[in-house]
């Protein structure tokens, strides 16, 4: 099963750049005189790499959220962090500060995490569902604020914001890509570095504390790192929901292992999942690509429910 999954994933990663509205053949992509050369190297390949790293970042961020907030329903999206980043990006668009979008998105996600953490520290550790409710309330607040922005913006800005909130992996060249790749490797490094502490936190905060872990500091570092990388992702691709929530659960349920051993796997399969969703989105035969967020939810939700039901039976 394990080897089959890895094999299947690698196949998806390899074939992904070749399929789309214009089919590519392998022999033409090295011929600099053909248009296929440009499509492959300037569009498809960057897009696949972008999808992989964004998926990987979102999945790992989901794991960090589920650990630090001790709630299996936590993810950058269910707790409103991505909405915060989206709202701040929209503000940047309206203020005409398009070149500072990444910075604004980061501010949005960081502000949300600070709010969440301040509220969480007032709760008793068993009240994790209250935090989820706060996150949902925040999301609603942000979407209302976004509506206000629509209302006061002009047509051009509105259009830009709408396109942005739909989420898209469209990318040209490698410029934005570097940032995402660095962000991905950064969060992987941070989570790996704190692997032991994370394992202790999987038992309970009190347990981690008694085993010598500086729980507060660890949580702060993890959450701030996540807000940086989620902010970067959102600023480039817009909000892409559901990956962070489900990928950690799917990998855990399939492997039946404690998640500290699955950091690499969650990173990898998070990436593969988004590449696969993007492959589907580009190949449904319509005139334009379906927004990626639609596909992640369409494919992810039923599979997720299936896994939950299967686990209940066990």
């Amino acid at each position: 099963m394990k080897y089959f999954l890895i094999f299947f994933s690698i196949i998806i990663l390899i074939i992904s750049p070749f399929f789309g509205q214009i089919e590519l053949t392998f022999s033409n992509i090295f011929d600099t005189s053909k248009m296929e050369y440009q499509i492959f190297w300037e569009l498809r390949l960057p897009r696949t790499i972008l999808a992989f790293f964004v998926g990987a970042i979102l999945a790992l961020s989901g794991l960090v959220f589920q650990t630090t907030f001790r709630n299996p329903m936590s993810s950058p999206f269910t707790l409103g962090v991505a909405s915060g980043a989206t709202l701040f990006t929209a503000i940047a668009i309206i203020l005409g500060l398009s070149s500072f979008i990444s910075f604004f998105a980061f501010l949005g996600s960081l502000a949300t995490i600070i709010i969440l953490f301040m509220i969480a520290s007032r709760f008793h550790s068993s009240e994790t569902s209250s935090l989820l409710l706060v996150g949902i309330a925040l999301s609603f607040f942000y979407s209302a604020s976004l509506m206000v922005l629509f209302f006061i913006s002009n047509l051009e800005e509105s259009y830009e914001i709408v396109r942005f909130t739909m989420g898209s992996l469209d990318i040209v060249g490698f410029k934005d890509l570097y940032l995402v790749v660095v962000a991905g490797l950064f969060i992987l490094f941070i989570v790996k570095y704190f692997q032991n502490s994370i394992k202790l936190l999987f038992v309970s905060n009190q347990f981690a504390y008694l085993k010598g872990c500086n729980v507060k500091r660890t949580n702060y570092i993890l959450l701030i790192s996540v807000s940086i990388v989620v902010g970067i992702c959102v600023s480039i691709t817009g909000p892409i929901g559901f990956v962070g929530l489900i990928v950690p659960h799917i990998v855990k349920t399939i492997t039946q292992k404690s998640a500290d051993k699955l950091i690499g796997a969650i990173f990898f399969y998070g990436g593969v999942f988004l590449v696969f969703c993007d492959l589907v989105a580009r190949n449904l035969g319509t005139n334009s690509d379906i927004p990626i967020g639609v596909v992640t939810s369409f494919l992810g939700a039923p599979f997720f429910i299936y896994l939950i039901l299967k686990r209940k039976k066990q």
Partner: protein, 230 residues
Amino acid sequence: MLKISNYNSDILHDISFTLENKNLIILGSNGAGKTTLAKVLSGVTKSSCVTIDDKNPATVYGEKRTRLINYIPPKLEMYDEFMSVAEFLKLNQLYSDISINEVLKLVNCGYIKDKKCKTLSSGEAQLLLLASAILHNAKYTIFDEPTSNLDPQKIKNTFQVLEDNTILQNKIIITHNLNLAYKLKYNILYIKDHKIVFYDTNEKFFDEQNLQFFFEDSVKKCDDNIVVNI
């Protein structure tokens, strides 16, 4: 030496005592503040009133704290669904030479090694916590009601582990099981109405008159055992 001086909070008033490399039993009625005291001593609840070998456990991290004190809650709290017993015990292996297999044998629970922690019964989970304390082997280990979920045989087994002073260093045991307290022969600290009202030897505490004073006619000595008189 473990020392707490003038600790005050909503739940505990004027708490001061010292414990010089010895075992201790903490008794008291429900809600008297025993668990709160345990959390203060172990640094889980921060305060500036506690020192263990001149260090405050709430302000040091890593090995400096883990060597000093460990707190074992009455119930195993576990967030992760898939962590196995062996994995959990491995996290506790700090200052003891005993292996995971040996420690499970010691608590008579060898068969749970490959189970997931979440699937254990409450009794098995309690024995797992005892095993984890043995592997950690801090200078002071506080057990919060270590026998509350156990059947009589397992209580007896737990008693034997606690009685053996070669297995763990100093133990502080919070319990409602008076017979366990009596047979372990440790000094007794009794908390009543948020205050320490008794801190002296086991012998003095289990004196007939003293028992009458603290428990009225609800307990009695019978055949050199303390039993609940129903």
